[in-house]
Symmetry: C2
Subunit: 361 residues, 2 copies
């Protein structure tokens, strides 16, 4: 029996992926050279389609890595000489911070308990340290379902124009409507809302970040093949330093093309509509409560519920028997929470069916 | 029209890959969690199958990266405090050396012109520097088709037991019969002789390397999620630090299983038989000569020919019209050389057909 995955990544494959995989086999995408015109066209296609989808200006490059996790490491190595600043409210935003510490940077942190989010005023009250070079924001904390609104990110950048701003949008892209005239860098992995198999990270990054990396390169190591200068130099020819995940680059171009056919506004509205259903369900059902209390911080793409009674394992089992795979609570919340990914791959009808399944009459 | 790829990577997909891709879709491999028992089984399957194929003892871990290029960086960061030593005879062995320089190590080099290879006596005459911690060997220089025999690698290690030995076997694995009681680390990428789409590197590495990385970690950065200690810790549970290329890990397990069904001895013998045909053809045809003169250094897996007259482009076109994609000469040899990959994905019959096509009566 095939299941429908409501897991926050790896997640349900976008419905067109199977047909695109067949296309990849027919076109022998697994065998083409990454130094061929055919590959450069695939890269250029992703570039053009993603720029259209997310309104990314020419100031920014679109680069490929092995994962979004890799981008945490690369952006810190390339854009931070001494100090970074992190908003941390869960396991994934914490890992971004941990990476900075491991790399020997001085990492500043503003921390909130799991389930809470950040807004402009709160961060301004806390104060971003003067010497922080890179401000690391998480659009959607996958572990807890707390999102940061783009309006707050944009205001923060306007108040700190000399600092580089980087947004982890792993489990939310393409939902956040980021203004790339403000945001210097953002990144995601393809196995979340783009509905692809894992193994490819996408790093959107501007010339200011490149300038910084080139300055740093003179005095410290910024990596080798995946240093920002190396990735950027290859990008200019729509190439990559190493043999990349060509297969996924092909699939990504196809899926973004499908997204553009639907239109980003429609995708965002559908995401909102499905999220409203899921939150209304959690609010109404006496067994559950919404984990993130502040409506402004409730994620549109990863909806997290807390059980007032009963076990999460039992709920996940009930769902699975009906063909739905839910995400468990993350880490210590394993037994008390559950996560429902609300990505474009699942339809309004599938969300309604899931809610019907979970509803006890 | 579908082509047969004789390119040295990305290369022809192994004939069973298409059926395994269908299996991956049916089993929803693109959606399963990388923290699930199902994923751990996939990892364990690769581990068991690859150990069987290459006779890898329990002293070595089998780790996944995004590419073999990544392993160049990771092994240098994790196993070299100050000094590395490299045998360089082409563009790819040179890049391994370049990475060491970029990472701020003191990289020693013994260099030979393209098309020449290394043997035990020559390297002993040159002398491996006393303070070199890691000796970096390339089993098959993909740019030129020069191989280093395993017997020479093994003898070198026996003469330098306190140094770590690392073998790049990107375009030759599973052909080289390495003795892992001697070789501390080896690595490959899956888009060469394993006949898979690109996007996955496999790093075989022993406890001595881990010990070294753990010592280094106390005093310098060895990376974050893909540091050797982090990869190894996760490997112990058949997990990975980040969401890996699960799709390719599944396919790799299936293809190695296919290889084991045939048997590694048979695969090596077939490779030798096909290589003999290709070299005999180059030797006999008055238009060509074998690029690598010393028979001991002629690669079994990437056969490189030099044109005495005519252009490589014309030859590649002739082959393409008959349905065969050959590799061009690498870099400055683009117009004068051509490369024919001799991987398990191409059969003896296909090699014979290629030779027939290229033969002028």
């Amino acid at each position: 029996m095939k299941h429908t995955f409501f897991t926050p990544g790896p997640a349900e494959l976008y419905p067109t992926v199977e047909q695109h995989v067949r296309g990849a086999l027919d076109e022998q995408i697994g065998s083409i050279s990454h130094r061929s015109a055919q590959f450069r066209k695939l890269y250029q296609h992703v570039d053009e389609q993603l720029r259209g989808l997310l309104k990314i200006p020419k100031t920014h490059a679109i680069l490929f890595t092995g994962s979004a996790t890799e981008v945490w490491e690369r952006v810190l190595m390339n854009c931070v000489e001494h100090e970074s600043f992190h908003l941390v409210n869960g396991a994934f935003s914490r890992k971004f911070y941990d990476f900075s510490v491991e790399l020997g940077k001085y990492a500043h942190v503003m921390e909130k308990p799991p389930g809470e989010g950040f807004d402009y005023a709160g961060v301004m009250d806390f104060g971003i340290p003067d010497y922080a070079e890179l401000v690391c924001l998480t659009a959607n904390e996958t572990a807890t379902g707390a999102q940061m609104r783009t309006v707050d990110m944009h205001k923060l950048k306007r108040s700190h124009r000399t600092k580089l701003f980087c947004v982890d949008m792993v489990s939310s892209a393409p939902y956040p409507d980021l203004d790339y005239d403000l945001i210097d860098s953002a990144f995601f992995s393809v196995q979340k809302a783009f509905g692809l198999p894992a193994g490819l990270g996408v790093w959107i990054v501007n010339e200011k970040c490149l300038d910084k990396a080139e300055r740093l390169q003179a005095q410290q190591t910024v990596g080798t093949y995946h240093s920002l200068p190396s990735l950027w130099k290859n990008f200019k020819n729509f190439e990559t330093p190493e043999t990349p995940n060509v297969w996924n680059i092909y699939l990504l171009g196809k899926v973004i093309e499908d997204f553009n056919r639907i239109g980003i506004d429609t995708i965002r509205k559908e995401t909102d509509a499905k999220a409203r259903l899921l939150y209304a369900f959690l609010e109404k059902d006496p067994r559950f409560e919404i984990s993130v209390k502040n409506p402004a911080h409730q994620s549109a793409t990863v909806v997290v519920g807390t059980l007032k009674r009963g076990s999460a394992a039992e709920l996940l089992d009930t769902a699975k028997r009906a063909g739905f795979i839910l995400g468990g609570g993350y880490g210590s919340a394993k037994n008390t929470q559950f996560r429902i990914a609300n990505f474009p791959a699942v339809s309004l009808e599938q969300v309604e069916n899931l809610i019907d399944t979970l509803t006890v009459d």
